[in-house]
């Protein structure tokens, strides 16, 4: 037979079983936490008609898209989960109940230049709350709580959710008389952390022709730091000059004011006036999330409030708020910086059962007993020497091995070996099953990340 060399496309993540087991645990945690907040799961096609997917048009995204013809149809692979959500809500509007809260976890595709840590196929894990015409600020206040709970359950503690409000920024630039330049200025200010205030000042003055005094005011505004209370107090100095600014300040105050009730400690939350999010469509609260010890990787969970989800499909005003996590990239980063837990079990089974007699029926029956009690049991059916069987158990990393030899079977018993301690004991079958079930459920679930 002619042989083809097997390979996986560059930029496509494909994990070995232990790593995949950790990724699954992350996916499970995301699903569970999103569901706790009353988001309903959604699943949309990975392929859409190109005119639908590119309705918003243009930009970098269009160049990266996987687009092709099949018969008469012009198709494309989705490049995010937001456009499919907009399509879904516009298409099924009459059948949905608003506010409509959905989560979606799925792969998206971007034909980016392949480089380390960049993926062409990657998971996004999004939540959005969509209102019909209007949407209360409380939904914006709730988002940090979802992020906090999710990251905490993943096993992370060193992270901070940075929050700002676009109305505040827009209003501030308006009160400086720079409202029409706000976009350019925000893109420059966005580089503050990377290039420092001196270089930002130079760009503002030289490239954007902002008056030096205004550049000074912008840098002063951006340098407001401190506790939530301190930042809010400092912002009071600007109140009363611009309606949009005042609205933004009020919203930011509401979001910060509800933090405690939402169970988010101030240690994990920071009002940060430099956060702008590049995208034009954010209109209220915006969020970025940083790993404290790894600021170089940038935000790992971002989003914000927008006023018009689906303007290119419908004339209904559908405001919303949402966040997105690039799970494949997050997984890559966590692995790269050594934060994936070595303690989280990654074995495919809790118990490996070794039949030691010609008739495997007693071992099979024990597997059925264990599985009935919810224990993940694997039968090792291959005719090998005992040592080879134990080597297999070690390679899988199963916590327990169950041995059914002639003696055990004659006595209605099974020998259970604890692979961590090496301890082995013989027990009646039912007792062994009960014990394993209790021990394993008692271990609870171990977070996939360990700092």
């Amino acid at each position: 037979m002619e042989r083809i060399k097997p390979h996986t496309l560059s930029g496509f993540m494909e994990l070995l079983p232990p790593r995949q087991a950790l990724m699954e645990r992350i996916l499970e945690t995301v699903r569970r936490v999103y569901a706790l907040y009353g988001f309903t799961p959604l699943d949309t096609p990975l392929l859409e008609a190109s005119d639908v997917l590119l309705a918003k048009g243009g930009g970098e995204t269009e160049k990266q898209i996987y687009r092709f013809q099949k018969g008469d149809t012009d198709l494309a692979l989705r490049f995010d989960l937001t456009v499919p959500l907009a399509k879904y809500v516009a298409l099924h509007y009459a059948d949905l109940t608003f506010p409509f809260r959905r989560y979606q976890i799925g792969k998206v595709y971007r034909g980016e230049r392949a480089q380390r840590g960049r993926f062409r196929e990657f998971y996004q894990a999004d939540i959005d709350v969509i209102g019909d015409g209007e949407l209360d600020i409380m939904n914006e206040a709730e988002i940090p709580s979802v992020i906090y709970r999710l990251f905490t359950e993943l096993g992370l503690s060193k992270f901070v959710i940075r929050v700002n409000n676009r109305k505040l920024l827009t209003g501030f630039y308006e009160l400086l008389g720079l409202g029409d330049r706000a976009g350019d200025i925000m893109r420059t200010v966005d580089k503050l952390e990377k290039i420092g205030p001196e270089k930002v000042r130079t760009i503002l003055v030289d490239d954007l022709s902002i008056a030096p005094a205004d550049a000074e005011k912008i840098l002063a505004f951006m340098s407001v730091k401190g506790s939530n209370a301190q930042v809010l107090t400092a912002l009071e100095a600007y109140r009363g000059q611009n309606e949009t600014f005042d609205k933004g300040l009020e919203e930011l105050g509401t979001v910060a004011g509800l933090l405690a009730a939402f169970g988010v400690p101030e240690s994990h939350f920071a009002l940060d006036l430099t956060i702008a999010r590049g995208l034009d469509y954010y209109t209220g609260t915006v969020y970025e999330t940083f790993l404290t010890d790894h600021p170089e990787v940038g935000s790992v969970c971002s989003g914000g409030r927008y006023d018009d989800l689906a303007g290119y499909y419908t004339d209904r005003k559908l405001p919303g708020v949402g966040i997105s996590i690039g799970l494949t990239r997050l997984f890559f980063i966590l692995d790269d910086v050594g934060l994936l837990s070595g303690d989280a079990p990654t074995a495919p089974a809790d118990v490996l059962i070794l039949p030691m007699t010609d008739d495997p029926a007693p071992a099979v029956a024990f597997s059925t007993l264990l599985r009935a009690g919810g224990v993940r049991a694997q039968l090792y059916g291959e005719k090998r020497k005992f040592k080879a069987k134990m080597t297999y158990a070690n390679r899988l990393g199963v916590p327990f091995v169950a041995i059914l030899g002639e003696d055990e079977i004659a006595a209605g018993e099974v020998s259970i070996k604890d692979m961590a301690t090496g301890e082995q004991k013989r027990l009646p079958l039912g007792e062994a099953a009960g014990l394993l079930s209790a021990v394993l459920s008692g271990r609870g679930s171990v977070a996939p990340v360990k700092e």
Copy 2:
């Protein structure tokens, strides 16, 4: 803004939230049951290089494939999960432990002619056990147990797993001296149920030029029916004439003999000599699964033993056994015949919390308390009249509503309304949270299917 009419491609399933919630429950059940049997989760790219994906080449599949160029790369969307598994095992051979047991649930793509109940994008849910050079028959005996447990946990009881062995068939045709015609004959016999024995006889004799006496022997063999014991006894009559047949009979006996130990009742298992599975690569036990009351939909879970998983990538002999479920089609069928449960909860939350005061903080704090106890809680933040809020609760189908008005807040209490009974009572916050957590976990999980 120019508007694009939103639409979803024909042949691509996109569900409304209540149906999606049931689909998620099915996916969860599949993951849980597959994991119980010691299969490790796997995830591979949806896009592969076309030369890799089409290494096996030819056939109907190639015409249906979604294949395109991106830059210099010839890509294709996977059309099943078996070829990616073969690639994975060949590529990562050195890093895997054999027998390698994996499950994979993912979407696959086939550009079939669009028609009712046929999907171009659909989920497959596969398990496979791959041996390195050899693989014990016990793995073949275990498969019906996985199918039985999975279908039972989904809520189905009226199904039967039909099992045969390809060695038995091959050996039988060899002993008739028709070994070189076995493929054509099997494809004809496969139509027995659909067209009846008379027409099969006609095709065998007229089209395939089988001697009438041999056609008679084939039909007699295929008509062997009854309990497992009866079928095995009838097959004994053919023993000793062909080595392959005898091996197949022995394997079939082993598989049937371990059923009880594997917890599969005979009522849900039938030896059926007419089952052949079209694909050439099956070499041992083969499986099909039928819904007893809906034989017209055909097999909903099929597979078998094969000797050569990845011959087009590697010269290593990698025998295996596996099954595949077309979950999207199964979901469509269950919905179509009215078997999706109306009892399974599909609301996005267990409790909808209604803040009735200007300051939502007490209601927010209650949501945090509930979520800490694992209760799926949703805050309703919109400023609406009470009646509109209750309408929203009814439309979502939440089982409980929690009301926090001034009186409740002053007393440190909350009013809980049971939406099924209409009963409402006021309780201290902690007591209410404990009660809701207990009641909701006590309800356990309801199967997605109800017969």
